[in-house]
Amino acid sequence: MKPYLRDKVPTTLSEIPDHTAYEAGYLVTKNAGWRNIRPVINLEKCVGCLQCYLYCPDGVISKEENKVRLDYDFCKGCGICKKMCHFDAIQMEVEK
């Protein structure tokens, strides 16, 4: 199962477990704020080779209709995907 963002952030004492086990894949914060630059995929140029998907350390690129899509909530802007793309389909743009 892919970890995903939850609405509920456990905060009160009764919501915090008194043992060390908890639900898997429980996310309450995004990583988008870490980014200074963002990868932008040009789907016209993308040939769906999947190198960006494979090498993204954060796993935020997924397959979609023989091409790829990117989850900006969790992309950190490392730039690895751009380096892995041999089709010039990814550009890094400054975050505004």
């Binding site: 954060d58 730039g79 690895i80």
Partner: protein, 297 residues
Amino acid sequence: MSLTGKTLNEEEFFYGHKACAGCGGSLAVRIALKVLGERAVAVLPAGCMSAVAFNFPQLCFGNNAMISTFAGTASMLTGVEAGLRAQGINDFQAVGFAGDGGTADIGIQALSGAIDRNDNILYICYDNEAYMNTGIQKSSLTPFGAKTTTTPAGENIRGNLRPKKNMFEITAAHGIAYAATASIGFLNDFMNKVEKASKIKGTKYIHVIAPCPTGWGTATDETIDFAKEIVDCGLWYLAEYENDEFILNYKPTEFTDVETYLRKQSRFAQLTDEDIQVVRESRDKKWERIQKNYKVK
């Protein structure tokens, strides 16, 4: 059929973690779990990969995963495997992800014991060549010449004086069921080794080089380039050990210059030409032994 980006499980199991941008270790964990699938039970000792994944309530593993003591990755894996088996559960893979310090220093005894018992576990060491989570201290897998906070570069000493320990051959010397080296710069090779290991009964050890931009002093988008170059310049190699035999999986036709590899990383910035010659010579010696003792595929 061999695994590629096209055939790999599309599900993500390591997501939303707080590793630095461009972290090589997190890519190794992510990819290994995609190969093993949701029945993987992961054990992570103290180190970057547990620190970035378990920050309650931000829990970044989609499969069962837990933190062990720093020294106890392999012993917790032994317990997980025996405990599930005792309950009649058989469709799982106990997998450990430990750093170089957690493996080659403090965790080596537990690992050695598990190999000796031939427990049915997969141990993956993600090697970023220092104790990164506590701020870059030398481990026995830090290479010669690297500057860390415990091997600083000064007037008389220029970084780490000791060579990198050979964990791959140490595990092989136990007569382990399967051992392999890998690099996150060669993911197809890594994925297929993880898959192969998951099908072998007994103890499996995979040692994967995973560059750390923060500790190596490199740009975040260069992680994969360094993971490739370390293999291309001969300072790391892709190999397997099985049935009493060492196999070299990949031989660069000609090594790229180690100097180019070293000079681009700030941890090696202080090295003199003589230091670099030392690195070159130790590489050549290592490869002489590989040519002699490894079957070249």
